[in-house]
């Protein structure tokens, strides 16, 4: 018995139907007769062949692909980042089913746009009593700063999102609208990418609408929306930053569309326009696709405490000199209190009946709504400005509604359709699904994305997984998305934009990559010593010295055993100075510039995660070395990503970060290991470990043939001009990469500091450095201390010259109106 056939048989068990025999819910795959529904019939030859075993494998593939692409979802309220979840079995709709839904979605988007124009203009909906003014005036999404005659935007909604559920009769119902900054378009595209890879036969069989043309259309719509010359239009995606819930989605949309992902601090108002601060100059911005809620976008006229916005943005919008998508006033449309009034608004504004009904909703501010909220215990109650339902005892809820009825709505729990969902073992469960759809204003009308993002809901109706949405074509000749005329995206290339914040993240990405590499190589050297060392031998003493080098950067670790300590170096991301901390830093930096990096970089993190799991799961000591080795492979694969980058500023700044960090790590390592004499036997082992940790053993053997001596090691690692692992080499390269940054003149402070340091290194010689004073090598210690201090000054100078964006905005001091 195959998995989906088995599912089909279970769906029509008698307990799922009510006694009258009418179905209590719609199943997306199985019809009431127990047979597959029409769209699945087309896929039956492949789909029905899948066993639980196949599905379990596919499920694991999905997890791995998503991890390789670094797809994550940050849970709200600081509950951390979790991997994005995707169920491999898509939600499949056929052309007939979609056609009727599509008309309803297009009309709904047109209606919402018209409502918005009316509310910020003539307000006939309010004046004529179609919508109670309270609904609008008490909602935080109504932006009074735009409710002025001076602000005219005939089409403030460019992209809408609507959540849908399907009732037992098969009809779709709108659950709510997302109009400020609808998220999920990027996740939808990623889901498609993954499902097409893990179920290639099914995907080929399906003849479904591909998503690409929707993105191309979206790109051209955004470029045209600025009103100026399309070819020159500068569009940016305004993000809430890497800590946002949908950071992946934001970065994916930005990089797919080819627009830079920016944050509020990267933008500035000058001369009545918005500008992007790029390294060294300002560039005018015509269109802002925002992922920041309106109230946070302008500390001058909206929330004064916002750090995410652009001071003066509202004024520029009113003057029509920048287009914000969606319009800053569009949040008011997300109020569920509007839902009961949409049918009347549709007749009033469009002179049509509303095609796509909303879930039955009562607003507490109306007589009948208040009565329903107080009398009906079956309603799902929420406030007008928060989509999360209130889960409160009935009495408390009643008190709240009585105190401020206009703040609450009650909605009938939506009947949702059910769909197969694959569990970890490959077993197929039946779960409710909802569907987020998108519509784009294109060529004078709204075009829904032919597809979407489905959510699988758990028993408490929280989202447990997403699903791809396949809409099948009526005929193979149908153009994808019904858009034959749109240019594919690949013909367009995004111009280079480097804002100082991005340069800073890139610099740190480079620094963390080399820091992680140094820490891992040192750990490998230490594990090798630890495996051989017997107590109170030279090997044991050498191990102590090498661990001293670890502790110099990471502080003393937990426990005294080398094994516990080294395990912590590999795994404890919160212990500053460890490999794990550097890897976490790499990841954070990479996430902040996700739109600028090849997706391959996330493969590297996939390798790193699996290596860390190996260390975590295995109690065996030898797995430490193995784990460290695999982590090193992960870090080194970032090299490959960097190597194939364009040779622009971004690349130079990463490389500058790497050179600076390499020099720093080397100086720390030598300072901890070679400045004190400990006896020939110990010193030899320490020097061997140093060569291992600096990946220079082979070079040393080739160059010096004989024994490892302090002089040969110092010569090779500090002064050799040809060894890419030497301090001198790193400084020359650092100078070179600094000169590749905009703003460098050859005589800027960071360049001068590096040049001085290089001179200092070049003027010394090996004999002086290894000269002995007592048990110490004072000249070597002095040089290394100078190197460390000068590199730290250089890092500060680089930050000041290349990354600073000036002070943060803050409000004028306030005065109380005290009056006479």
């Amino acid at each position: 018995m195959t998995a989906l056939r088995d599912y089909a048989d279970r769906v029509n068990q008698p307990e799922l139907s009510d006694p009258s025999g009418s179905p209590t819910r719609w199943d997306e795959m199985v019809g009431p007769d127990g047979g597959l529904r029409a769209p699945w019939k087309a896929l039956a030859s492949v789909a029905v062949g899948l066993t639980e075993h196949d599905l379990a494998r596919v499920g694991r593939d999905v997890t791995r692909f998503l991890a390789d692409d670094g797809v994550t979802y940050v849970r709200p309220h600081g509950r951390g980042e979790v991997p994005w979840r995707l169920d491999p079995v898509p939600l499949v709709l056929d052309a007939a089913d979609w056609a009727s839904l599509e008309v309803g979605l297009a009309q709904r988007a047109e209606l919402l746009d018209a409502v918005l124009v009316d509310l910020y203009g003539e307000q006939t909906l309010l004046a004529e009593g179609v919508v109670p003014p309270e609904v609008v005036h008490t909602h935080p999404g109504f932006v009074r700063a735009l409710a002025r005659r001076s602000y005219v935007d005939p089409h403030p909604l460019l992209v809408t999102g609507t959540d849908l559920g399907r009732g037992p009769d098969g009809a779709w119902l709108a659950l709510g609208d997302r109009t400020q900054a609808p998220s999920g378009i990027g996740f939808a595209m990623e889901n498609r990418r993954v499902v097409s890879r893990v179920l290639p036969e099914l995907y080929r069989e399906a003849r479904l609408h591909r998503l690409g043309p929707f993105f191309s259309a979206m790109r051209s719509v955004l470029m045209q929306s600025g009103g100026g010359e399309t070819a020159d239009a500068r569009v940016v995606v305004l993000s809430t930053g890497a800590g946002s819930e949908t950071a992946y989605d934001q970065a994916f949309v930005a990089s797919t569309l080819g627009f830079p992902l920016v944050e509020g601090a990267d933008l500035v108002v000058r001369d009545g326009y918005v500008h992007l601060r790029t390294a060294g100059s300002l560039e005018r911005v015509d269109v802002i696709l925002r992922r920041v809620d309106a109230e946070w976008t302008d500390p001058l006229e909206l929330r004064g405490d916002s750090r995410l916005g652009v001071a003066g943005l509202t004024e520029v919008v009113r003057r029509g000199r920048v287009r914000v998508v969606n319009g800053l006033g569009s949040g008011v449309l997300e109020s569920p209190a509007l839902l009961p009034y949409l049918p009347a608004a549709c007749r009033h504004l469009l002179d049509e009946d509303l095609r796509l009904a909303s879930v039955p909703t009562w607003w507490g501010g109306s007589e009948e709504g208040r009565a329903a909220l107080l009398d009906r215990s079956d309603l799902v109650v929420r406030t007008v400005d928060d989509p999360a339902p209130l889960r409160l005892p009935a009495e408390d809820l009643r008190d709240r509604v009585l105190a401020d009825p206009g703040r609450y709505v009650g909605q009938e729990p939506a009947d949702l359709s059910w769909s197969p969902q694959v569990g970890p073992s490959g077993a197929v469960h039946s779960r409710p699904v909802s569907l987020r759809t998108f519509a784009l204003q294109h060529g004078g009308a709204y075009r829904p994305m032919v597809g979407g993002l489905a959510s699988v809901l758990g028993d408490d109706r929280s989202v447990i997984s997403s699903k791809d949405v396949w809409v099948l074509k009526a005929s193979p000749e149908d153009p994808d998305q019904g858009l034959a005329e749109v240019l594919p995206l690949s013909t367009l290339r995004a111009p280079e934009v480097t804002v100082p914040r991005v340069l800073e993240d890139m610099f740190w990405l480079g620094r963390y990559v080399d820091r992680a590499e140094a820490a891992l190589r040192l750990t490998l050297a230490a594990t090798t010593l630890a495996e051989e060392a017997r107590p109170a031998t030279a090997g044991d003493q050498a191990l102590a010295v090498v661990r001293g080098a670890v502790h110099r950067l990471a502080g003393p670790g937990p426990g005294s055993s080398p094994e516990t300590d080294l395990r912590s170096v590999l795994l404890d991301g919160r212990r500053v100075g460890t490999a794990a901390h550097a890897v976490a830093g790499m990841r954070e930096a990479a996430q902040s510039v996700r739109d600028q990096l090849s997706a391959d970089v996330w493969r590297a993190f996939g390798v790193l995660d699996r290596a860390a799991e190996l260390v975590t799961d295995s109690p065996y000591r030898h797995q430490l070395g193995e784990g460290a080795g695999r982590m090193l492979t992960g870090v080194l694969s970032v090299d490959g990503v960097v190597a194939s980058m364009m040779r622009d500023q971004t690349w130079h700044v990463i490389e500058a970060g790497r050179c600076l960090e390499r020099a720093l790590q080397l100086a720390h390592l030598l300072r901890a290991t070679t400045c004190v004499r400990r006896g020939l036997d110990v010193d030899r082992r320490v020097l061997d470990a140093v060569l291992v940790a600096t990946e220079s053993s082979v070079t040393h053997r080739r160059r010096f043939r004989g024994h490892v001596r302090p002089a040969s090691v110092v010569d090779l690692l500090l002064l050799d001009r040809a060894n890419p692992r030497s301090l001198r080499f790193a400084l020359v390269a650092l100078a070179d990469h600094l000169s590749g940054l905009a703003g460098s003149t050859g005589s800027t402070r960071p360049e001068r500091l590096v040049a001085d340091l290089l001179t200092r290194v070049e003027e010394t010689d090996t004999a002086t450095l290894v000269a002995i004073g007592g048990v110490d090598r004072p000249h070597l210690a002095d040089l290394l201390d100078e190197v460390l201090a000068q590199l730290s000054r250089t890092a500060d100078a680089i930050a000041e010259l290349h990354f600073s964006t000036g002070p943060a905005p803050r409000p004028f001091p306030h005065l109380v109106v005290a009056g006479p």
Binding site: R148, D271, A808, H814, A818
Partner: protein, 294 residues
């Protein structure tokens, strides 16, 4: 009466400000009983960008941006205004206050606009204490004029005028607990109480001409911005008539009151608000206002 207004706001910083953006509500409104004969706004340094506009409540505003580095910003507004006493329809003042709830007067063409001013706002939130305080002035069937005057009298009687009792962040809770405040607090308290009963009223920002104590010279700059309230009068001829009451001084606002701007609460109409970009650690603010017979 004709008044010459002089309003100067000076911000001083201990380090250079490189960019300063602001929104001003300093131009007196043109109203049936108030004519603006002359108005001049000047900023030092001179802003590179300055543009007038009319806001959602019909107030005249100015947006500005100063990019000349400065350690002192001076905003100066000089106006000449002619104000008359306001005349209201006695029949409207005599209606029972319950008939002045805009949500229940959809028969009146301007009622839908007044609804916005019967709802809570950021600084005039729904407040049970303010609601029950105002209830004492709202006996069933009491004429609207009488009820609103009574609430004004009671606030004047029950609350002490005390500049030390209040800060920018004073809330209705603070004012009710301390039984003290300044004009802005009294206006907000009146609005919270009034709106809690479904009635519409708005916050007014402006100036009151003061008379120097007997035997003393007028001191230029000793006046201040003032705040009072306006109560919506339903069904007045032509619609849109408001009764202006000053709970701080326990009197209706007459020809000595110059109206600058009105809104839901102070937050809609501060005379000056802005954002600065600076490394400065401290800043100070000085406001000088003078209202002299013109």
């Amino acid at each position: 009466m004709r008044w010459a207004l002089w309003h100067r706001t000076t911000y001083t910083y201990d380090d250079e400000v490189t960019d300063s953006l602001g929104v001003l509500h300093l131009r007196p409104r043109s109203l049936p009983y108030q004519r603006v004969l002359d108005h001049e706004l000047s900023l030092t340094p001179v802003p590179g960008d300055a543009a007038p506009d009319v806001d959602h409540f019909g107030n005249e505003t100015t947006f500005f941006q100063v990019r000349t580095p400065h350690t002192e910003l001076v905003v100066r507004a000089d106006s000449t205004v002619e104000v008359e006493d306001r005349v209201h329809d006695d029949a409207v003042l005599a209606v029972p206050w319950e008939r002045a709830r805009p949500a229940e007067r959809r028969d009146l063409p301007d009622a839908w606009r007044a609804i916005e001013l019967a709802l809570p706002s950021p600084r005039v939130s729904r407040h049970a204490g303010a609601a029950s305080y105002a209830a004492a002035s709202l006996a069933p069937g009491r004429p609207l004029g009488e009820a609103s005057y009574d609430l004004m009298h009671r606030i004047h009687e029950d609350f002490a005028y005390d500049k030390t009792a209040t800060t920018v962040t004073s809330t209705l809770d603070d004012v009710l607990a301390e039984r003290a405040g300044v004009c802005q607090d009294f206006a907000h308290l009146f609005l919270a109480g009034w709106r809690a009963h479904g009635l519409a009223a708005r916050y007014v920002s402006g100036y009151l001409a003061t008379t120097p104590p007997p035997g003393k010279e007028r001191v230029v700059g000793a006046d201040a911005s003032h705040a009072w309230v306006e109560v919506w009068l339903p069904g007045s001829e032509g619609g849109g008539d408001w009764l202006a009451l000053d709970p701080t001084n326990d009197q209706p606002a007459g020809e000595r009151y110059v109206t600058v701007a009105c809104g839901r609460d102070y937050g809609d109409v501060p005379p000056v608000r802005g954002i600065i970009f600076t490394e400065a650690r401290s800043s100070s603010l000085k406001v000088e206002v003078d209202v002299a017979p013109g």
